[in-house]
Symmetry: C2
Subunit: 374 residues, 2 copies
């Protein structure tokens, strides 16, 4: 970080770590929209071909392999990393970045174990660097307005959440394998769990769930489909089905004593998001135009660094979802209700976090096919 | 039954037993549309005021109280009863009607226990009378077309069903009390369980569920809300949330490997039913105009009697749903997966059962308010 520039002109210098599909089609192109306070200065990937092609595409001089991370961060004078690696690698690269004194913006789900999440929180705290988990929908208008609608009383008391989130995953994708943190629950279920939590604004206390696998090509040793029920202390109940073997649906619904809100598509960054708000038997539609959902994360995280604020989707927020998903896995294995110990969160997303940036065209990815067959 | 008339001219003579809201707004008015083979000849109710008013409205001379059932059936020379009583009374009145040699068309859910269902099947079989459970959607075009879409392969392999079915029940309604067989699961959940079964065309083998109650006015000693997951031997999974404390939603979705079908409203008889069929990212809407869903049951059941055929929504079909709902209750109580033993059904509804009759205006009910506050 340039120590001489004022906060107004200072830009946070990012290294993007990982050059898979999401990094290529969404994170890298987002820097254009985040130029007010964020700058892409380095690229780390295990694939020299990707490094060369993407380095040239984005004019990034500092680049290197995974074992060169610290060196690349130093050469690039990076302030922060955006970790877009397989879930199983999040902890190691968070710890290494923190050890290098670099702030961490890490893709969700945060990790595959509570222990890893806690280690990530500890590592960043100990080194005095920020940690944010990349929940893009915490900055997205349609989801934040859903939060406001839930809080407004317009639906009466909101007591039920249901969601269906599915896609047909490409055989061979990392989502089909456990060694890279795959499976429908961790890849798709994290959105449903997170949405239920930001809409009800509390932590579930009990879960019950079932998981199954029909097609080995789409789920080698992970769950292809998971269905779960979450109970909340207030009496609210959330239910979702996620699958990486079913044609795309991306939908949630929030039901209250006076009305309901359906959001569909709900979780996408490649399409308009739509609200269907029904109160008193009348349904109003509202379309939220497709926007860049990644630049807002960069802009927000850079602000947190520049203003020394704790990011809202903190490490604790990431952990909160992971421990619910682990309880879901336990319930699916045990066939019993699994209790989740209380967790106190200081912050929840609200409209104050709404950041609008224009949609960007996704470039043709280099050796990084889409996870979905559709 | 008149022994001299030919099948072509013979009409099945019905006694309607019970004069609650559903009998008054739907069953009694349906006879006009079922005149081809069905005739209303008697009324049984515990309320003399209702008997007088409805007897006059429909020109029904033979009427009486519950203890006069056999007498009324005899005087009216009734061939069949339509039982529209609280669920807890279904068994007794089925047994009494059967003992009187009268065929039984009984509202769903069939009963509150397996034992009662089995007794009803036995009583009618022993006396050689037909038993049909009044699943109106087994004769309804939108739901039958959903069955055809599921079977056609248009959605690929269908593997997930989700449903949300809610209404705000009027405080004091029989649905709020267990002594009359109330609760969201038995009143609303029966539609979800039945739909999952007719769409997947198999019986669930395992269930897990949770139930809760927030508002005593809407659920005195029954479940206000139940969320359940059903696993099927094929690997299909169904999930639903039902509540009698949340504003009206009536919706299901069937998801396959190639597309999905949303039906909403799905379970209603007072509104158009709509399909939203999505294949290859394109959604087609189709509206099925509101129709009389009760006359088709009468017409179909009368045909079964006249042609000596086993009705498709048989006693076994009724039992199939009840045992799933009882397993759901058990799971909600135990906090564990509950297994359901196999059950072989010979018949499932299909488009061959589609019977179209024009909508009828619901008359003002006599001392029988709507179950819903909306």
């Amino acid at each position: 970080m340039s120590k001489t520039a004022s906060n107004e002109t200072r830009k946070i210098r990012y290294a993007v770590v990982g050059a898979g599909n999401i990094a290529q089609v969404a994170v890298l192109p987002a820097f254009k929209n985040a130029a007010e306070n964020s700058e892409l200065v380095a690229l780390v990937s295990g694939d020299p071909e990707k490094l060369a092609a993407l380095g040239e595409r984005y004019g990034v001089a500092q680049r290197g392999g995974y074992d060169e991370l610290e060196d690349v961060l130093g050469r690039a004078r990076a302030d922060a990393v955006y970790i877009a690696l397989p879930n199983t690698m999040h902890r190691e690269y968070t710890e290494r970045a923190a050890a290098a004194g670099v702030h961490v913006l890490c893709e969700k789900p945060m990790a595959m174990t509570e222990e890893d999440c806690e280690a990530m929180i500890r590592a960043t705290k100990d080194r005095g660097v920020k940690l944010m988990i990349a929940y893009r929908l915490h900055f997205e208008e349609a989801n934040l307005q859903a939060v406001e609608i839930a809080r407004s009383g317009k639906l009466g008391e909101v007591r039920a959440f249901t969601s269906l989130f599915t896609q047909v995953v490409r055989p061979g994708d990392i989502r089909t394998r456990s060694d890279e943190g795959g499976g429908a629950l961790f890849d798709l279920g994290v959105y449903c769990v997170n949405a239920a939590r930001y809409l009800f604004r509390e932590e579930p206390s009990e879960v019950l769930a079932t998981s199954l696998r029909i097609d080995e090509r789409r789920a080698k040793d992970v769950d292809e489909t998971t269905a779960a029920i979450l109970r909340f202390p207030s009496g609210a109940v959330a239910q979702f089905t996620v699958s990486q073997g079913l044609a795309s649906v991306s939908s949630f619904r929030l039901a209250g004593t006076e009305g309901n809100l359906r959001v569909e598509p709900a979780f996408d960054y490649t399409a308009d998001i739509k609200h269907y708000l029904t109160v008193g038997g009348k349904t109003e539609e509202k379309t939220f135009k497709k926007r860049d959902q990644f630049a807002p994360e960069l802009v927000y995280f850079s602000r947190c660094i520049l203003e020394d604020r704790e990011p809202e989707p903190s490490g604790l927020e990431g952990l909160a979802d992971v421990r619910v998903m682990l309880a879901i896995q336990s319930s699916a294995a045990s066939g019993r209700v699994e209790a989740i110990p209380p967790l106190k969160l200081e912050q929840r997303p609200d409209m104050g976090q709404n950041i609008k940036k224009p949609a960007v065209a996704a470039p043709e990815p280099v050796k990084a096919p889409s996870p979905s067959e559709e």
